[in-house]
């Protein structure tokens, strides 16, 4: 593996950047549309922090997987724009699914436990809800991945240009 791909700092910083940027954009949009106050008022602090922690974890992991599949060309600076965006979108979609699955699994588990011995959960409805939720989560993740992939690509290129101006060799 090349030094670029080996970099844990790169994975950590990109993963956190993606989480922070997405969350800040989301909060800004919710605030501007007037939906933030009521949404936050109905959300428990611990639940909100847990949701953020889960998103941070899944985004870091998906970013790591996306980077490790990119090959050494990222370090060389010759980033294949289409391939980068494709990977960003696919792993963004997977991230959306992972973020949905965690809370959903807990919800289903609690539902089953609380309903044990009582009413049987409406299985077809539950499956339909999971299917629709998954499609939406994948779609949102895909779009987010596209936007963040674009930003990443631009910043990769700018950093490459600056390093080139400093006359730093690209190989050891």
């Amino acid at each position: 593996m090349g030094p670029w791909r080996d970099s844990r700092l790169l994975e950590w910083s990109l993963g956190t950047f993606h989480t922070g940027f997405f969350f800040t954009i989301l909060v800004t949009l919710l605030y501007v549309t007037g939906a933030l106050g009521s949404l936050l008022a109905g959300l428990n602090t611990a639940v909100g922090l847990a949701a953020f922690a889960l998103l941070w974890l899944t985004t870091w992991w998906c970013t790591r997987r996306a980077l490790r599949g990119m090959g050494g060309n990222t370090w060389e600076g010759r980033v294949n724009f289409r391939a980068t965006l494709y990977r960003a979108m696919v792993w963004g979609g997977i991230n959306g699914l992972l973020f949905l699955i965690g809370p959903l699994a807990i919800f289903i588990l609690f539902s089953i436990v609380s309903l044990a011995g009582g009413n049987i959960p409406n299985l077809p409805f539950l499956l339909l809800a999971i299917l629709i939720g998954s499609i939406i989560a994948f779609g949102v993740g895909l779009l987010t991945g596209l936007v963040l992939g674009l930003i990443d690509s631009v910043l990769f290129r700018i950093s490459r240009r600056i390093v080139q101006r400093l006359h730093v060799p690209h190989d050891r």
Partner: protein, 155 residues
């Protein structure tokens, strides 16, 4: 845990994380200035090592800031002033500032990672100047956002 105590802890964590960002950036800026008397190769190695450690902590602090920032807004809840108010305009500007800080910081980290991974002949680089610019920029952006935060809380 009571609502007031959790609110206090969230505010404390938010401020502590900001202090880490700002203090670290100023420290790196100062270090890049004062360590210029070292051998160029030594200076380069020291700076990149310190910068790499700072970047790792920086991103942890950023995650904490975003999470606790939303928690702070949650404490206001339904009483959150609208976007058309002066408070709302300040909040929107602050959020935009956070986005700028995030993008600038990713660029800074990418540069550090590239320089470190290249195993560069850092002696040949105007490295001190580049790092000074990066960390002064980080400090200024952080101070601007902090100013807006103080303005929002007490203004």
């Amino acid at each position: 845990m009571t609502h007031a105590l959790s609110g206090l802890l969230i505010r404390w964590a938010h401020l502590a994380a900001f202090a880490l960002l700002l203090g670290g950036a100023i420290l790196l800026w100062g270090l890049s200035r004062t360590s210029r008397s070292l051998e160029p190769a030594e200076h380069g190695r020291l700076m990149l090592l310190a910068a790499e450690r700072y970047e790792t902590l920086f991103w942890a602090a950023i995650g904490l800031i975003v999470a606790t920032g939303v928690g702070n807004l949650g404490a206001i809840g339904d009483a959150l002033p609208g976007r058309e108010t002066l408070w709302g305009v300040r909040l929107t500007v602050k959020l935009a500032g956070v986005l700028v800080l995030l993008a600038f910081s990713l660029l800074r980290t990418l540069l550090i990672v590239r320089l470190k991974a290249a195993g560069v002949g850092v002696a040949a680089l105007p490295l001190a100047k580049v790092l000074q610019t990066l960390y002064v920029g980080t400090a200024l952006l952080t101070i601007s956002i902090l100013g807006l935060a103080v303005w929002l809380a007490h203004g």
